[in-house]
Structures are given as C-alpha cells and as structure tokens.
Amino acid sequence: MRVHDVVVVGSGLAGMEAALRASQDGELDVAIVSKVFPTRSHSGAAQGGIACAIGNQDPEDNWEVHMFDTVKGGDYLVDQDAAELMCKKAPEIIYELEHMGLVFNRLPDGRMAQRSFGGHSKPRACFAADWTGHAILHTLFEIVLKRKVKVYSEWYVTSLIVRDHTCHGVVAYDIMRGALEVFKARAVIFCTGGYGRAYKITSNAHANTGDGLSIAYRAGIPLEDMEFVQFHPTGLYGSGILLTEGARGEGAYLLNNDGERFMKKYAPERMELGPRDIVARAEQQEIDEGRGINGKTCVNVDIRHLGKERIMERLPQVRDLAWDFLGLDCFSECIPIQPTAHYSMGGIPVNLDCECVIDDKGTKIDGFYAAGECSCVSVHGANRLGTNSLLEACAMGAIAGTSAAKYAKSAPDLSLPDDADVEAKREIDWLLNARGSVKIADLGDELQRTMMDDCGVFRTEAQLKRQYDVVKNLQQRFQSIGLSDRSKTFNTELLGALELSHLLDFAEVIVLGALNRTESRGGHSRKDHPKRDDANWLKHTLAYKDVDGPRFAYKPVTITRFQPQERKY
C-alpha cells in the first residue's frame, strides 16, 4: 500500500496545476498517478490557444464579455457562477504560467499576443504558434520537476475507493511491473481527461478513453450532461486528426464541392469564425446534401491565400499535418476535412470548489475532486468555446488543488476498507484469463463506427434506439473476449481491454442521455427535435449507475447575469 495526503490522477494541465497548488506550501505529501508519462498527456495536443480576457490585443475586453461569450456559446446550459469564476480567474492563471517560464507569442511591446477564435467576440486567445497546449504542459512539468512532486508514471488507475460518501483513495496497476496497488489518500483529484475515443473520427489521442468517468460511475457517482459531445469542424479527412481552429482564426476559408464559402448560409456575420457546433453542423449538412468534395464525406479548408510566410509563422503544424498525414502541400492545395469528435462537455459533477456533488441538493463525496475535461462544473454547458478548455483545465485544476489541500489538512485519518482492491483484482484476473474468441479491436471498432454514424453530429430517435441496442450487444459480447497476452511486463493488451470496458460503460450513458433529451442544444442536435426547448430542457442531466443501466435525474442550471436568448452568429 502507498500512502499520500493527496493523490492526483492524471497529469495533463488540470492534473499538474492541481498537484502544484496542493503541494505549494510544502506541507502535504502529494503524488500524481498517470497512465502516460506527464508530457504525453493529451493537453499537449492543444494547438490554438488559451482564452484570457487580459485585453492585450483589445483593451475593451474584460471578464464579463468573456463570460457572456462563454454562456452564449454554451447555449445557456452553462452554470453562470462557474463561468464567472473561471473568466475572472483567467488573468491570474496566465500570468502565473508566464512567470513559470511559458514561451508564448508576443506583441511588439513585449506583452503576450492574442488572437481571435471561434465564438469569442474579442481576440483573447493567448498562444504559442500552434502548439499552445504543448507549451503550457511542458512549462507545468518543468515546475513539477523543480518542486520534485512525486509522479507515478505509467500507472493505470482501475478504481476509486468510496465508502459512505467518503473517498479513501484509488487502486492502480503498475504497467511496468504488472502489479496492483492500493493508494490511500485523504483526498483524490480526478483529472483524467476526455472521452473522444468513443468515436471513430476523433481528434483525441488513443489514451482518451474516459476511464475516469466510468471509474467514478462504477463507484456510485453520477455523470453529468454526457450527451453533449463536441464535434470539431476541422478534423483531417479519414483520421480526424485536428487541424487547429487557429487556421480559421487566421482567415482560412471553408469550401464545398462548388467552391462556395458555405458558411454564409449558416452564420452570415461570423462566417468561418462561427462557433464549432454551428460550423460542424454546417459541414455535415453540406456533406449530407451531397456537396462534399467529390461526393466524399469531407469539405475543403483553404489557407492558400494566407501566403507561405504567414502560414510558417503562425500555423507551421498545419503544414506538417497536411503533409505528413495526407501528403498534401497546403501552400498550393486545399485540405479535406470533416467533423471530428473533439471534446466532452459532460463529466463528473463538481461544484465551484471542484468538490464532487452527486445530486441537486449538494450532497458531496468527501475527499473526491475532479477538474479539467473529465469534470462538469459546468462552464461549457452544451458547447465549449475553443480555447476555454485549456483555461478550464488550468483554472479549475488550480482550484481543485487548493480545495483538496485544504480538506486534506483537516480530514480525519480513516482506515481503509478491507475489500478496497477486491473488485480491481477480480477484473484483472478475469481479463488475463479471458480466452473467448471475440477480439477487443473488433468491438472497439464497431463501437466507434456506430457511435459516429448514429450518435454523432446529428441524431434522431430511431438512430439512438438502434445505437442503444448496439451498445448493449457489444457489452454482452465483451463477456466473450479473448486476450493472448498474459505477461506482467507492460501488458498493453490488458490495458486496451480495460479501456474498452470503460468506453462501453459510458457510451450507454451518452446514447440514453441523448435519446431522453428531446431538443437540440449546442453539441446535441436532434434532427427530430431541431429547436432548443428551454421550457422542458434548460437543465443538466445526471445519470446514475443502476443494476441494469443508467437511471436518469436532472438538476437546474445556475443562471445569474444572462437570461437565455436565441443563439445567433
């Protein structure tokens, strides 16, 4: 058994911010547990920028405008107290990162440069070329090294130990040795990232399997707003690898097969700079109506008019991605793109202190916190604005670290339940001895394909019902899988199976949540219910694990400053 005061699961932006805050005064023993090495976390893939209303580029900008954009972008499902908190905290977070050594683009006067981004009414994205997430991730990691924070790299957390609404720690599997160990902690912070891998075309890394969500779900914690999945409009055709939204920010055109800038039909004012959900739906509509490029499921992004110099200065990765993954020269050719599953608005429900709350009465799981993409506070509501999630990961990660530390300092030292790791052991033993004939790769592939087709950009009742059956069937077939690798050393097949079992668990929640929600809002778009329905659906979904599937409940949205209006761009 390993004992720490605070255990942070995940080492992306949220996880490292949390660990740094929790260990700031040196009083607590803080450890990070992560299934990948910290700098391999998916935060590093974020390209475009991090939102922060410091007004370097436009002095008119302030936190309130930022908050309004966020609330509107989220189609009014945003909890406005949370959005206010995040937007107000943004400058502190950015300056702190800069002081740590962040390498960011600058204005001629030496202040940080900012650029425009979809859905933001002011240029407020601070950035480092097109590797913003990478720059922040590595800066935070440098400070983790400087502070000598203990990191368990390549340890896979399999379960959360919760008894009587109190968290006691986690169980984790050391990938290198193949050993299961119990981590006892006064406070646990989940920063386990998103669940894009439920989809075939996704911008997310292979590691983004949303483990943290179903681990919490299995421990009796509900999941909030899981039906809201963001599709990014510019995924590379075929793979979904992301082409930064920065490209549109810098002035890229979106063209259909007729060479038409089709966004004029969907967002005449903001054109290509409209928010993601609107642009993604526009693309899907063009594709569905037969105006995809050469009849394929893609449209074109054109940056040729920006010129080589500007592309090289501001969008070098776009050039590389087009070249390396499609063999295209973006100086002289258009790049085919399609909507790609990108961000998970839903997650573990938490309050403004990042404490996990499991119902609308504010009931907490003591000592359990969540931040970043795996959580739902909810600053993004039904749709996240670009550059707001790096901010959320950093700001809420920091808050989680601070509040968990505060709690850990006063929490009683509880004894661990005897059966803490029984379930985890059973699961791993079962997998190592699974000798069925079903291949996990086939199940994963089928899940991802069908989720894309029937629970994707557009949804209907018929599709969702069909998809529910598919997921149920896949869950059943999972019982007959066969694994061939029984080694203890670095058994990646075992990990793949664990991840798949998580995907299958929460996919059901996504599908049923989407089926229940008979309206269209933000990232959730029902063809059979095309209008937003505030009278019935201005509320958050909560899904609890029950014996034979999720049980649904709802909780109200916090509205403080801005009353819901129609969302137009």
Binding site: S41, G101, N105, S484, S487, F490
Partner: protein
C-alpha cells in the same frame, strides 16, 4: 506495389525470451497509412502481445519513437509508402541508447536523468515579479521558439553518435532544453548555465554529426542549439578549455593563411603548457611525419590580406 507489406519487428519479452528475435508480419497495404497504423493492425488482428507505446498518433505526445530501417522516427507520422521508397520491408526496432523493457518499449529513465541535470526550468528574477507578464520582445521569443517545440520523444538520443560511446554525454534533447533556458531573455542565470555546460559531457562533447538535426521530428534542431550554446560561451569569454581553444585557434589560423594549419591546431587546442597532452599526441605525429603526412612548410593562399579585411568588416558590423 505488393498488396501486403512485410513488417519485421523486434520482439523481446523478458518473462519468456532468453534473447531478442525478429518476427515478421504481413500488413495489408492501403494508401495513406502510417507505420503506427500498421502496428495497430498487427496488434488488433494478428498478435495481441506485440508491445509498443503510442497515444496521440499526431506527432505531438512523443510516445512512439522507434528505429525504423536503421534510423529513429516517430512511427505515427511515418507513411508506410515513404519507407517503401527506400526499403523492401519495414524493419522496426526499439530506440537505441535505452534499455529495452519489452518489444518496442524502452526505459526512458536515461532521458529524464539527463534532463534533470540541466536545471530544466527557467530561473528568472524572483525578486521583482511584475503584476502582469514579464516582457519579452518578439525577437527574443523567436530565439527560443523552435527549441521549445521539443516533445521529449528521445528520438535524437536514440541516434546520437556521441551518446552511443559516452554515456556521460548530456545528449541533444537535454542540451536543447539547456539552450532554451539559457537563451531566454527572462533568465538570470545564463553564465552559471554556460559554465556548467562546458564541463565534461557538455556542449564540447557533441561530435557534430547532425544525426539529431536529421531525425528530430519537431523544429528543435538540437545540434544547432548546441552550437549556439558554444557561441554564447565563446562570446561571454567564460571558459578556456580544449573546446573553446579549438574554435578560437581554428578561426585564427584560417585567417592567418587561408588554409588551416593542421600541425599547429592540435597543439594550440591541447595547449602548449599541457605537457602530458603534448606527449600523448607525439607518437601519432611521428607516425604521420614518417609517412610524409606533415608538410614542412605550411602553404597559404595568395590573398590572405583579403580574408583579414573581410573579418575586420564583419567584426566592425557587430
């Protein structure tokens, strides 16, 4: 083109294999597929025990460094078709200069140990911290921009020729990180860093082989950063060692006659006062003399003055 591509993959499981071996797989070939896609295909459909690291599959997480047909690459951004332009089959081995854990997975501790040695964080003025950001001009940002794009994949270490023979060498990635910190306009410890980096295993031990520049999948060009660290060290006139003397006397001798004097350079580099060093070189010198490899008169070009005039102008323009 064949319908299948042969993947010849290094296999080793310490639990069952007494020594490594190669295993061949046939991978159905489709256009636009990467070597990582090929590995995933094998793992998913043919052999679940094949072990390797990967995550982002878009060349940003740094997980998937491997040796492919002799040189280190990120397999996620390597098109199979690209490999087949030069080779008949795809031969995949774990990265070199690291201990193998299993199949294509290596122990990266060595990478991080080296990183730890270069104080891999910014040391700035902590006394006068402004309320907003510290200022940095776009030009100063540009100095460290490319070096900051390192994804810590280890590919450069895997191909580093100095590291291969000298485990003490800090290696390209750590030195690039050191450059990124030392060259940052906000840093306050540049001189200490440069002094530290001039010690054994530091910037003067790079063999200038360009392997790291060639294989780095990002814009780091590690060796170029090492050369810049050398330049910074020379400019600051901080150290006097064989490395600095070599560069300084090289330039001086070239300007002296237009042709580098190969007899005098080694002597000047080692230092005339270093008797032991001189004696150590004597047998080689003698052997060369006997073979007529040491001209008695040093040649020179006609227009030596011209070189000095140019050098003067360059110097003046600084």
């Amino acid at each position: 083109m064949a319908e299948h591509t042969t993947f010849k993959v290094f296999r080793y499981n310490p639990e069952t294999d007494s020594k490594p071996y190669f295993q061949s797989y046939q991978v159905p070939l489709q256009g636009g597929k990467t070597v990582l896609d090929g590995l995933n295909e094998i793992k998913g459909q043919q052999d679940g025990t094949l072990t390797y690291r990967m995550s982002c599959r878009s060349a940003i997480c740094g997980s998937c460094g491997m040796v492919v047909n002799g040189h280190s690459k990120l397999v996620c951004r390597l098109q199979i078709a690209e490999v087949l332009k030069n080779f008949d089959e795809v031969v995949i081995e774990p990265m070199r200069n690291f201990e193998v854990i299993r199949d294509l997975v290596v122990n990266m501790d060595r990478f991080w140990d080296k990183m730890d040695k270069v104080t891999p964080w910014l040391v700035a003025d902590e006394e006068n911290v402004p309320a907003t950001e510290r200022l940095q001009s776009p030009a100063d940002f540009n100095v460290i921009r490319d070096a900051s794009s390192c994804i810590m994949c280890g590919v450069c270490l895997s191909d580093c020729t100095s590291l291969e023979v000298d485990s003490n060498f800090l290696g390209p990635a750590a030195l690039a990180k050191a450059f990124r910190m030392a060259a940052d306009s906000r840093s306050v410890d540049r001189e200490e860093r440069l002094l530290e980096l001039s010690k054994e295993g530091g910037v003067w031990d790079c063999a200038r082989c360009y392997e790291c520049v060639q294989v780095c999948p990002k814009y780091v060009a590690p060796m170029e950063t090492i050369m810049k660290l050398r330049e910074m060290t020379l400019k600051a006139d901080l150290v006097d060692n064989r490395g600095t003397r070599h560069v300084e006397h090289f330039t001086e001798l070239v300007l002296d006659s237009g042709i580098l004097d190969e007899r005098r350079l080694p002597m000047k580099t080692v230092g005339l006062t270093d008797l032991k060093g001189m004696l150590h070189m004597a047998p080689t010198g003698l052997r060369m003399m006997l073979k007529g490899k040491m001209p008695l008169i040093h040649p020179h070009i006609k227009d030596v003055d011209e070189l000095q005039r140019i050098a003067h102008k360059v110097e003046e323009s600084k």
